[in-house]
Subunit: 227 residues, 2 copies
């Protein structure tokens, strides 16, 4: 699981990185807000840990920037200040949680677990849509043009991932990592097979086709007239 750590104090940053890595997280570091924001937008992280006081761009701005690009990734803010005002400012700018320095490392771990676990849950009903295709994350149901479609667990997970990244080409590596949760490439063609399953279920009997393959690149979910 990848975490982006944006913190300018080299010692603090190194300390946190080391601790997290001992708990099997992968950590990317940024030492200023600008570079941090850049990384957050370009790569895919499970979580961002963000100091408030940073060179080039402060934590609140970084937070806003990420949210403007409506990424929903969890942001955990760190600060040396503990006043209510700062807390409000942080949460208003789009942070998901807040930790006051100095903190117990155990607490940091607990909050990370909480945030990453919760990123998959939801209180209300989360429905992902694309054209006439609808997927209800809670109910685990899928409809196309109102017709209910039943998927297996993997098929559902794959479709969900494609929907979350609709209009964007996702590579096999992305899919293996996000849907199968292994980066271990076994030279197998499971993905092809599952794409095929999905096509049968959600594209075969409908138009327009939504699943498209970009040879040598991966797959996209989008509305597109076939050539």
């Amino acid at each position: 699981m990848k975490i982006l750590l944006i913190e300018d104090e080299p010692k603090v940053s190194a300390f946190i990185k080391k601790g997290l890595e001992e708990h099997t997280y992968e950590v990317d570091q940024a030492y200023d807000g600008f570079y941090g924001a850049k990384l957050a937008l370009e790569k895919e992280y499970a979580l961002v840990i963000l100091d408030v006081i940073l060179p080039r761009m402060n934590g609140v701005e970084v937070c806003k920037t990420i949210r403007q690009h409506n990424l929903t990734l969890p942001i955990l803010m760190l600060t040396a200040l503990g006043s209510t005002d700062d807390k409000i400012l942080g949460l208003d700018s789009g942070a998901d949680d807040y930790l006051v320095k100095p903190f117990e490392f155990q607490e940091l771990l607990a909050r990370i677990r909480a945030l990453t676990r919760r990123s998959q849950e939801s209180v209300g009903t989360e429905v992902l849509k694309m054209a006439d295709l609808e997927l209800d994350v809670q109910k685990k149901t899928v409809h196309r043009s109102g017709v209910p479609i039943s998927l297996t667990a993997r098929e559902f997970a794959l479709l969900q991932y494609l929907l979350r990244n609709k209009e964007r080409v996702v590579s096999r590596v992305d899919i293996i990592e996000q849907v199968w949760e292994t980066s271990f490439d076994t030279g197998s063609n499971v993905i092809d097979v599952y794409i095929n399953f999905l096509r049968k279920k959600i594209d075969r009997d409908f138009t327009p086709k939504l699943i498209h393959t970009l040879v040598g690149m991966g797959y996209v979910l989008k509305e597109m007239e076939e050539k």
Copy 2:
């Protein structure tokens, strides 16, 4: 009597929890609004104590969310701010009472007593329904098509949880955490066994079947024509 405490400051939360437990209340904790709302909707509490400033979802939103799902459970809001505006905002959003931090613990206890007393007077007759299945939370009775069905305590708790989450797929992890109140996975199959008990009692002799299993995902309670 179960109380849900939604408060992000670990120290404050721990303090309140401890105090309440000394007065024989059972306390569940949530450290952010999102998770708090989730718990409030899924489980049954006599009261919610809710901080205004929270990660992920602030107190006012949590309040609204709970009220939208027309639960009538008493909500006691906590805040560090004391201005009239905040108070109005809180009460408008559906809170039943309001306490400004810092407060005397005695006062908190008094208000809790007041709020829970009130709710007991209003003969809470909460009945969960689904198709021809009815479950009376207070009376602990279950009927299907008018036929009384007797369940054991666990069976009842499980069915109640499924009813509160009807139409939504609940995973084994959800069930273990909410009904058995352990997150400790013992690799056992208690849940399967209990689902089986419930099926025998509420589905075996009736149509349509209400309990459905989604392989690899969990169980749902819903009306559904079998494939």
